[in-house]
Symmetry: C2
Subunit: 706 residues, 2 copies
């Protein structure tokens, strides 16, 4: 039986929240992989029914042990499969026959084990699907549902305290995921769910996370990724998290080429271009953490319940230098460290000692030990400032003053409802514990506190963005022209399609002879460019196939001949369609705009600046199509050379909105062409006072409709 979508969703839900669990291949040795789940289920108080299955034992730890799956007294909601790789398939099929709809497979020896393992894994996936059993794994550590004491895992993480909490953590890596979970425990961050996806033959990262993020006890979703093959699922997950108002924090390894090489040898997942991944997840409000420490820092900040309703950071320290360091980092992270209002400044000077600075950052020095109100009043004044949305208080040591400081922070916490993050270097453990009880988070380094504050602000901004997002993004009907052929398209045809989609294209027509070229030049009523036209010559300039600013008959005739001669000399095999005659366009800036069908995320739109430098500097921005104009403006704001758009050395500024419009329109058209469009380059798009205009166009179709 193949499960319906609803049946599948139900099966996953019951897998994570099982009323009964079978352990296939259960061992009485609780140190072993196949003994550990039972140990944890019993010791940590799972209240459902447990059915060990192993013909070797009549009972384990007082529970009756069943000789086979067939003899199970009922079909459990979850089967844990901990048998040799070669026995997995038969067991899964037996589970399916017994009516079991979900299994977690610990066993290794699949996709991670070369070609033979990959083929075994493929078969497992197909046969499990036919048997109506959804799978987590194989080659995974399983999962913990800490709310219901479900320990379907042999991870070392389960050896210690796994008290539930507001974070759902899903990891593709077992070892790294266990490490992250252990660090979360050290910080007293509660994981409500800990799930290792393993080889993902069936259930992938996004589907598993979707199944737990709906739980109202979960406030934050956190994931560790090594690769991704279903970009659409990740986008759906990110959008669902935005609807739920829950931040999604992701760490993904493989930022660089060398990393991608090692990743390919480790996981079965397809490599994704990290730059595209990074752009797309940000587009949908995902917070990316560069490594496990930054992820945990963000989770700390996001686990407390207060919201930063803007990017204004207020900093109070007992060290001027720490304040400067944090202010620098804030600027790098896109936060502002605003000037304070006069009201706030007056309040601060009322309480500040003469030698402290009274701007932002505020340095209260160590004087607050003698005068506690110095700290409390300064922080409260700062947080009351309308330009401040999140605060950081920086302290060090103060081992002798824990009680006093906890009292101060308790007062601060009750007098503001904005988030105040504490950075306390070498804090006494007692202080951290008590501040946690106040609902405050404590960081161990100033720059880390700033990064966490920026995560709070970015989450708020992306939520606002999600609310205001234009309806254009909700979806685009496919409108593919008839009678297409794959490959490089004729420029005139491509240009017509794009013009019809609202993209400003420089007028262009094809001349099949010198005379036609002259006629077209006359019609243009001004200087023209001539360009060789052939599906086999994509980069026309490389063979000298472009002539610019021709404006008399002789020049046009000579130009036509020159181009034809060059083409036949350089590329005698090329199919020559003729010569394009194009009106010259104006513009002092050159953009590159393009579309690429990404194997993971689908249609991706790119914009870059700098002509020849685009490739050297990689100064480009990407978005998943379709998107609105606001998103197009965001893309421009990400370009390092974006200042050029506003005019440099006396050049005029150009209209960013017009460019954003072009990008948004192109994204809508690209989305509608998804089944057939492989790639598109508009290079260059000239931009001047009259707005952007595309003067060259390479379009490649590849029909991937079923």
């Amino acid at each position: 039986m193949i499960l319906s979508t609803q049946e599948r969703t139900d099966a996953v839900r019951r897998m994570i929240h099982p009323r009964s669990i079978a352990i296939i291949g259960a061992s009485a040795d609780f140190a072993k992989v196949n003994g550990r789940p039972l140990k944890h289920l019993l010791e940590k108080g799972y209240t459902g029914r447990i059915f060990p299955v192993n013909p070797k034992y009549p009972e384990i730890a007082g529970l009756p042990c069943f000789p086979s799956i067939e003899e199970l007294p009922e079909p459990p909601d979850l089967a844990i499969v901990a048998v040799q790789a070669r026995d997995v398939l038969a067991n899964i099929e037996a589970l399916g026959r017994r009516g079991v709809r979900a299994a977690v497979i610990f066993s290794s020896g699949f996709g991670e084990m070369g070609a033979e393992g990959k083929s075994r894994e493929r078969e497992l996936g197909e046969r499990a699907n036919a048997a109506g059993v959804v799978l987590c794994g194989p080659n995974c550590l399983g999962f913990v549902n800490a709310f219901d004491n479900v320990y379907a895992t042999f991870s070392q993480y389960a050896d210690g305290e796994t008290g539930p909490g507001p974070i759902a953590f899903v990891t593709q890596s077992g070892a790294f995921g266990t490490a992250i979970a252990a660090l979360a425990r050290q910080r007293e961050l509660g994981l409500g769910y800990f799930i290792n996806t393993g080889n993902q033959v069936d259930l992938g990262f996004s589907e598993l996370m979707l199944s737990v993020v709906e739980d109202p006890r979960i406030r934050v979703a956190a994931g560790y990724l090594e690769g991704l093959d279903d970009g659409a699922a990740l986008v759906r997950l990110a959008q669902r998290c935005q609807e739920l108002g829950k931040p999604l924090v992701l760490t993904k390894v493989g930022r660089k080429a060398s990393g991608a090489r090692a990743a390919a040898s480790h996981t079965g997942a397809l490599a994704v271009e990290d730059v595209v991944f990074d752009a797309v997840i940000r587009q949908y409000g995902v917070l990316r953490a560069r490594n496990e420490e930054q992820m945990l820092d963000m989770l700390e900040a996001l686990s407390q319940t207060r919201v930063a309703r803007g990017s204004g950071l207020g900093i109070v320290t007992q060290s001027g230098g720490a304040g400067v360091m944090m202010a620098d980092r804030a600027e790098e992270m896109g936060l502002t460290v605003p000037e304070l209002t006069v009201v706030t400044q007056n309040r601060l000077s009322d309480v500040m000692p003469a030698f402290g600075a009274s701007g932002n950052p505020v340095d209260v020095t160590g004087e607050f030990v003698a005068r506690p109100e110095l700290l409390s009043e300064s922080v409260v004044a700062m947080m009351d400032d309308p330009n401040i949305h999140v605060g950081i208080v920086w302290l060090q040591l103060m081992t002798a003053h824990v009680e006093k400081l906890v009292r101060i922070f308790s007062e601060i916490q009750s007098r503001t409802n904005k988030p105040v993050l504490v950075c306390w270097i070498a804090a006494p453990q007692e202080a951290v514990k008590q501040l946690h009880e106040l609902g405050m988070v404590v960081f161990t380094a100033g720059e880390r506190a700033v990064e966490a504050a920026s995560a709070l602000a970015r989450f708020h901004i992306s939520q606002q963005r999600a609310i205001n997002r234009s309806a254009t993004e909700s979806g685009v009907a496919s409108c593919v022209p008839n009678n297409l052929t794959d490959g490089v398209q004729d420029t005139v045809q491509a240009s017509e399609w794009l013009s019809a989609a609202g993209i400003p294209m420089a007028p262009v027509a094809l001349a099949g002879s010198e005379d036609e070229a002259v006629t077209l030049w006359r019609a243009a009523k001004g200087p023209v460019a001539l360009k060789i036209e052939s599906p086999d010559i994509i980069h026309k300039t490389e063979i000298g196939g472009v002539l610019l600013k021709l404006d008399d008959e002789t020049a046009v005739r000579d130009g036509y001949q020159t181009l034809m001669q060059r083409a036949s000399r350089e590329l005698p095999q090329a199919r020559i369609r003729g010569v394009l005659v194009q009106t010259m366009s104006q513009g002092h800036l050159e953009l590159v705009v393009g579309v690429q069908r990404d194997p993971v995320f689908g249609m991706i739109v790119m914009v870059g600046l700098g002509g020849i430098l685009v490739e050297v500097l990689k100064d480009v921005a990407f978005r998943r199509a379709p998107f609105d104009m606001e998103e197009g403006l965001q893309m421009l704001s990400e370009l390092r050379m974006g200042a050029l758009l506003d005019g440099v050395r006396g050049q005029p500024a150009v209209d960013r909105k017009a460019i954003a419009h072009l990008l948004s329109d192109l994204s809508g058209w690209a989305a509608s062409m998804q089944p057939v469009l492989a790639e598109l380059d508009l290079n260059p798009v000239l931009v001047g006072g009259a707005g952007p205009i595309a003067v060259d166009c390479v379009m490649v179709l590849k029909d991937e409709r079923p």
Copy 2:
């Protein structure tokens, strides 16, 4: 009496290593600032003589207390001054009269307290100098010499264990410095010296560090800076550290500090404070840590005694993802993660399980728990590879296997003499302790281990560089021309000076009339550029003051008139010298090269790429003059657009060495002109097949000779 250089050096040495200490304003209340030093000196076993001075007490803690400085039984090597700010000056003068040559001043109320405090501080400095007393402070926490149990401090750091160790730590901030020292203690990093410079009225950061870095028990120098006024002293310190073979690690806050000055040149505009600081300290081998955590990570790596003799990093993990993450970070940090030799690969496949990857990074999975040799043999094979210079082993948890792992690491440590860094996530405390005893360092996060490994490699490389540095850098005789006037120099004169110094300058001459311009054009035997010449028109293009590629008499005559008319229309007040006639030069790339006299570091040379984009992208590199060609090549390698030099899109590569030669020659000339040269722009320097040639030159002199 004013101390001679030798007397001053001796006074500082005795201050740090005193045979006797007086405490001026000593208190019997050991909780107070003026009581704490005595408490620590007594409790921690200082063996020298201690003289409390305070008329209020006959004795403190069993020590006779002296009513006044005059009545001290001998002049101590060090006086700790802990009195009210208003009483400091009189006490310092009394100390001088009593023959005391060094004092540490805790008292605040000086430069940090507005104009009045600043004036009090200036007077203190002058009068102490006249009294022959060197000062540490005021407004400082003092210092700890942990070797000799000298606690001339009231820092909280002294409250705990301060066991000596190989690190000398000097900090400009008391609060932040104490925090860093406390973190160092948490990591069991030993500080031999902890010194807080405070307001630095006399002894500054560099002089204090110089005084302790000579100690053979010190292996690493670490500093925290908030500002710097004596760049030459810092350079001397860095050079001395290189001679001693001891790494100098600095953290400086104020990365974003707005150091931009009003400057005529692009060089001046781009040479902002922190960018120059960063470039110069790297030039002299200083390792910069971006924050306190990175500093401590570097100190951990540098405190172990092994040297990384290259940039090849070998990574062994039990998680493929962790390996990818570290490999990515390695690339970002300038390390390589080399392919392994066939010999190494064969050794690895002999021990590796089938499912681990056998490249670099190596993933040994969790199997080593069952087969310890899997880990030890893999790591040893990796470290034996000639391309590997430093190794990282990544682990997590393994709480049940500490003993086994320590045995494995002990074996690894004895079988290689290359540095192996351990990254052990959530490591049991016991394991960290035992690995420390093996002389190994343990990091808590993979990326941090990589950053520390890169510090080891960079230290080795900068030491090699110091050894090979050409003699040109050792110093340059001043050779300033006679009869100079301040301000913008005539182009022809400036060009002659630079040509004489070996800088390739496009031939240029001044025409005072149309006829002269024509004569000069004829002499050039080819196309020329005409440029308006006026000390009041620095950026000639901005008023249309440049005409290019003129190559007939009419054009030259018309051009001359056009430029004169434009100049008198745009800037009627400008002093017009005439029109420059310059041979047109060839080159497809434009560099900006410049010199700036920096108030902290002296003469700074800049190179940048990208014409108009230089200011947008700030893609420039700086060095302190003079420097050799190797350093010039390094500058070019730092440019993000450096790939342009090697040819992009079919353009030819240019000769990097020729450019480096120009930079080095210019740096030598700039150093010789230090007393009079304020700024210089060569913009652009054209570079083509014939090497670089400067086609424009703005030189500004400002004589600062005494």
